[in-house]
């Protein structure tokens, strides 16, 4: 997507860029699952603003539009039934969480295919993407979706093209109940804690803000009434960048590069110290000028 005028904070397969001259606050999307009515206006607004082709709905026995997000469908209201004394109907807006420490960006081998803007938005740059799918492995939330025709990955951009010019994301604009809000991270965290207090006073003793520290916090924060059971909403309990990706990028990459360079140096030193295994007769013949 296009966010061309924004400073960058992180770039895939590159050293972090120097801090930009233009500082800007981290932006955050606030989702309150307790006031969502499941109307799906946000789904439609997302499709419209991003000009995505319609996906045929798939009936999976709930009010959910599709079983999962797709390369052309970046915003999905997930429905779940949760029994806890009575039957509760949980609705959660699912999309890219815009992690502070994004696993997709860490895993990506293509320079600039994934960037994190100074305002915290994590965005795929399809023109640099090589379609390897490593971001799918790196993501703890199952977000990047591969498009079979373009061989590239797609996901929510947090409407960076709108945010860059001072507008709020399309989903926020469309939400009729106000369960979606948009602002700076500190504003949204404050709002979320306020809402959690209200819920606690109403008897939802486990209410929390889902802003998982394992990925440095997310720039999409979610208020959950049953905060002890994020899994009931389809959220991982303690998401982190997969261990394999951390091992690969933090350990094996250095070990591998050093061993390759070291191996070449050792070979060169060996050659200088011991040289070839020359056959005696041939070596002697060569010295005396005879052809073999």
């Amino acid at each position: 997507m296009a966010g061309g005028t924004l400073e960058l904070r992180r770039i895939s397969a590159s050293k972090s860029p120097a801090p930009g001259i233009r500082q800007m606050p981290t932006v955050t999307k606030y989702i309150d699952t307790t006031t969502c009515i499941g109307c799906k206006a946000c789904e439609v607004a997302c499709q419209e603003w991003n000009d995505l082709p319609a996906e045929t709905t798939v009936q999976i026995g709930t009010y959910q539009t599709l079983p999962d997000m797709t390369a052309n469908f970046w915003n999905l209201i997930r429905f779940a039934e949760y029994e806890n004394g009575g039957l509760h109907w949980l609705m959660r807006k699912d999309q890219c969480m815009h992690c502070e420490d994004p696993g997709c960006l860490k895993a990506c081998p293509a320079p600039s295919a994934i960037v994190q803007y100074m305002n915290g938005i994590v965005d795929f740059q399809q023109d640099h993407c090589i379609g390897c799918g490593y971001c799918i492995t790196g993501c703890p939330f199952n977000i990047p979706k591969f498009h079979n025709k373009t061989k590239k990955v797609y996901k929510c951009t947090l409407c960076v093209d709108r945010v860059a010019v001072g507008l709020e994301p399309a989903c926020i604009k469309a939400c009729p109940t106000g369960c979606l809000q948009f602002g700076t991270k500190s504003q949204m965290v404050q709002l979320a804690h306020h809402r959690v207090e209200q819920l606690k006073n109403q008897g939802y003793s486990q209410a929390t803000v889902y802003d998982p520290p394992g990925v440095g916090g997310t720039n999409v924060i979610t208020v959950l009434a049953y905060g002890d059971r994020p899994d009931a909403y389809g959220l991982p309990r303690n998401p982190t960048i997969p261990l394999a990706v951390r091992l690969w990028k933090d350990v094996l990459q250095w070990l591998g590069n050093l061993s390759i360079v070291g191996g070449l140096i050792i070979a060169a030193l060996h050659y200088l110290r011991f040289g070839p295994k020359a056959v005696k007769e041939e070596a002697q013949a060569a010295e005396s000028g005879d052809e073999i």
Binding site: G131, T137, Q253, N257, G263, Y271, F274, G275, V279, K280
Partner: protein, 230 residues
């Protein structure tokens, strides 16, 4: 056609035409896999992808070339598996590895058609190739791995990286030994033939077998450090 025929006086066929073809399919394939794989492995090597037409093209072709490489290695296994079998004699050779490294070849037991190091390199590439293929298939079709099976994806990444690095180590040694240390090896793998002296010096048991000359004299035909300084 079996190798080991005496073609010209003083010349022995070390690799038949088909052996050389399969070797260079594997060799050419591996070089491509190495360059493209390193580009995916580390940002320090991403520039290598531009030698191959860019990252996008490298991502498309890497798996197909990998398939070709493994087919070549399996074919190699078919034609060389008997020559590559590790035997009791290889144990003694392994013990003398340090002497071999230091070019003190009179202390190294005679080798058959392939010495222990060559055999080990072959098996590294054979089993490595199979592991790379299996893990590579998962990475090839990452997007089809269901979310609940994501551990498989993580595991495949690790296996692919670790095994690939091991083969790179073997590959560096192989090229270095084949081209710079054991002079005459290059001629063997390109033209097919080696001199009788070369065969006697580097692969005496093989030479005995070909010529039917079982008088495996234990004199070394290779220059030793002591020969140089004297």
């Amino acid at each position: 056609m079996k190798s080991g025929r005496v073609k010209l006086p003083g010349q022995i066929e070390r690799y038949t035409f088909s052996e050389r073809v399969v070797h260079w399919i594997a060799g050419g394939g591996y070089v491509y896999l190495l360059l493209s794989g390193l580009a995916f492995f580390s940002s320090h090597f991403y520039w290598l992808a531009s030698l191959l037409g860019g990252g996008l093209a490298a991502r498309v072709w890497h798996p197909w070339v990998g398939l070709l490489f493994v087919i070549a290695v399996v074919w190699m296994h078919h034609i060389w598996r008997r020559d590559m079998r590790l035997t009791e004699a290889d144990r003694a050779w392994s013990k003398a590895l340090w002497h071999y490294i230091r070019n003190e070849d009179s202390n190294v037991p005679p080798a058959g058609r392939f010495n222990t190091g060559q055999k080990q390199f072959f098996w590294l590439m054979y089993f490595g190739g199979i592991l790379l293929l299996v893990s590579g298939l998962i990475l090839w079709f990452t997007e089809y791995v269901p979310w609940n099976w994501r551990a498989v994806r993580s595991f495949a990444v690790l296996v692919h990286v670790v095994v690939a690095l091991l083969t790179v180590g073997g590959f560096i040694v192989h090229i270095y030994m084949g081209t710079l240390v054991v002079r005459g090896g290059w001629g063997a793998i390109t033209q097919g033939t080696v001199s009788e002296t070369w065969a006697r010096a580097h692969h005496r048991l093989w030479w005995n077998e070909i010529t039917g000359d079982a008088t495996a004299k234990n004199d070394s035909l290779l220059l030793e450090p002591t020969d140089r300084t004297s």
